[in-house]
């Protein structure tokens, strides 16, 4: 494959340009993930052949089509159990689950809940563009209350999910919220997540100018990007209570949880070794 860009060595360049609409934040996120991986691989803390991607269905999950790694584009909402299946039998793998807010927080809600409860050794990156993009702009669990979507034409009557609080409450080792408007910080969060045992969860505020932007009157990529940037509040070491997720008050980004409890895989191995007469 031909190489131009410094990240091309991690990309299936023959699949570029990506399928995403102009100005979609997902490509920015993919760049951050690949740069974070590049740092890990260069410093020797990750082996390239041990990196695997898994995504469900949706624009965000399509991110699995481009990285030049082992990669799985599976079914809607089910990337987490797929990735965990890989991880259990090949613990040396670093499994990165990428999905949208619908994929991870709606249809995949049960799986993220239990993956976090287990502190399963996965890096879960939830791209949150506050809308169902691929299917044409329907309401998501992350859609701000009151906003128009194609399935809530009189305004979204539902409360938004603050998944940071969920992930923190259920005991993930690492919980952060980043934004594609703040790329060095986002890259750093993903870099850190890649080094964690247990479950590392990164919610990423992203932009969908084509649908979400159209719904709220910021149709051009730059307008939506600029609008989101205005509403992002960067905090250093914010508490979980400070993790505001609000169109009006703003979206607080930062690292909310960083702990180092044993991950599911090592506990499972320890318990399993009892069966084989190990110390356990």
């Amino acid at each position: 494959m031909a190489v131009a860009h410094p990240l091309d060595r991690y990309l299936r360049t023959d699949r570029l340009p990506t399928m995403w609409c102009p100005g979609c934040g997902l490509g920015i996120l993919l760049g951050c993930i690949l740069r974070a991986l590049d740092r890990r691989i260069r410093e020797g803390s990750l082996r390239r052949e041990n990196v695997g991607f898994a995504g469900g269905i949706g624009c965000s999950a399509r991110m699995t089509l481009y990285p030049y790694f082992d990669s799985a584009h599976v079914i809607h909402g089910r990337a987490i159990p797929f990735a965990l299946g890989v991880k259990i039998v090949k613990p040396e793998m670093k499994m990165i689950v990428v999905g949208g807010d619908g994929d991870i927080a709606a249809i995949g809600g049960n799986h993220i809940l239990h993956a976090i409860r287990r502190n399963a050794d996965l890096v879960v990156i939830m791209a949150n563009n506050m809308i169902y993009g691929m299917t044409g702009g329907q309401q998501a669990p992350t859609t701000p209350r009151g906003l128009y979507t194609t399935t809530t034409p009189y305004g979204n009557p539902e409360r938004e999910i603050n998944i940071v609080k969920l992930a923190a409450a259920l005991g993930a080792n690492y919980v952060a919220r980043g934004s594609v408007t703040h790329t060095p910080l986002l890259e750093q969060m993903i870099y850190k997540a890649l080094g964690k045992r247990g479950l590392a969860f990164v919610e990423v505020l992203s932009t969908c100018p084509e649908l979400f932007g159209r719904h709220i009157g910021f149709r051009s990529p730059v307008d939506l990007y600029s609008e989101l940037r205005k509403r992002v509040v960067v905090k250093t070491r914010p508490s979980v209570e400070e993790s505001d997720y609000s169109w009006e008050r703003g979206f607080v980004i930062g690292e909310f949880v960083d702990r180092d409890e044993p991950g599911f895989i090592e506990v499972l191995q320890e318990y399993t070794s009892r069966a084989r007469g190990g110390a356990g």
């Binding site: 082992d70 599976v74 089910r78 299946g85």
Partner: protein
Amino acid sequence: MRVDYVTGNTAIALGSIAAGLRFYAGYPITPTSDIFEFLARELPKRGGYVVQFEDEIASINAAIGASWACAKSMTATSGPGFSLMVEALSLAVITETPVVVVYVMRTGPSTGVPTRSGQYDVLQATYGFHGGLVVPVLAPATPQEAFDLTVRAFNVSEKLRTPVVLLSDATIAHTYGRVVVREPGEVEVVERAKPSVPPEKYRPYDPGEGLVPPMACFGEGYNVLVESLTHDERGYYAPRSDVQRRLMWRLYRKIVESAPELFDYGAAYLDGCDVALVSYGSTSLSTLVAAKILRSEGYRACSIRLRTLFPVYEEGIRRLLNGVGKVFVVENNVGLYYRELRGVLRGSEVVSVPIIDLDLPQPREVVEVVKQWL
């Protein structure tokens, strides 16, 4: 090799171990939980993993994931759980993932009578998922067959890179029997074909000369693509008719053209048979005895127990029942598999014998129904 006295469920668990099972993902459901519990105790001793997931959906998807990490994997469930798994079965079909799904049928629809038997889901086992392709379905009737067919299910699954359904039922699950148990290394085990080309030349869905592509796994440097979208040989999404056509026909042909090899049945009293009682699973025990009774009463009856339900090997079934005047398809449902056979056996009169019984149908009951048609 040793002789044991175990239930159908335990025989399945033992068979899976013999075949090289390394990952079992499960969610408790009657009447399969003892497969799960047995493996939870035994598999870790052999270096395998048994994990209880949050639902059947997670279980099958985790099993598919583990298979892509090169572990032979399995899950077991019954009707309600299988209904949740069918979407992922479709994924396993298009991604050509070897995985064994044990389906222990119980009484339905819906919750039905969870502890009792029936054969209501025989068509769901292969037609239940979207996409219109065929998944091999093997059906044991005794604990020994449960053991043997479990090993076979893994082998077929690895050889053809396909999910395989092992279709049992609540009766077989709790039937005890003498079982010749073979240990790993004592049975013929098929391992999936691995790529012979270097990673940069590997195309994950390129079957080469055959119909089944070699399979690299996660973590081997091959940059594999597991793709649920219609894909070309590289695994790249290709929404084009020619690609869809090529993929569909290959996925279809690799199963259907294996039908002769997959075909498996047991026959009794074939000599001069003019009245064939065709059945599968636990009901075939009733049918076997019924045939014996009919013989004793002067009818030229025989019994055929189908152990491979799908793909339907039409030629083989026709040859087997060639010249038989009347074919009775006996099943514990409203007459489902009969629909598969009636079109196949054009030379014979094919009669459905649907028996709905929470227990194993009494052989006498089968005899009485059959005699009405003789």
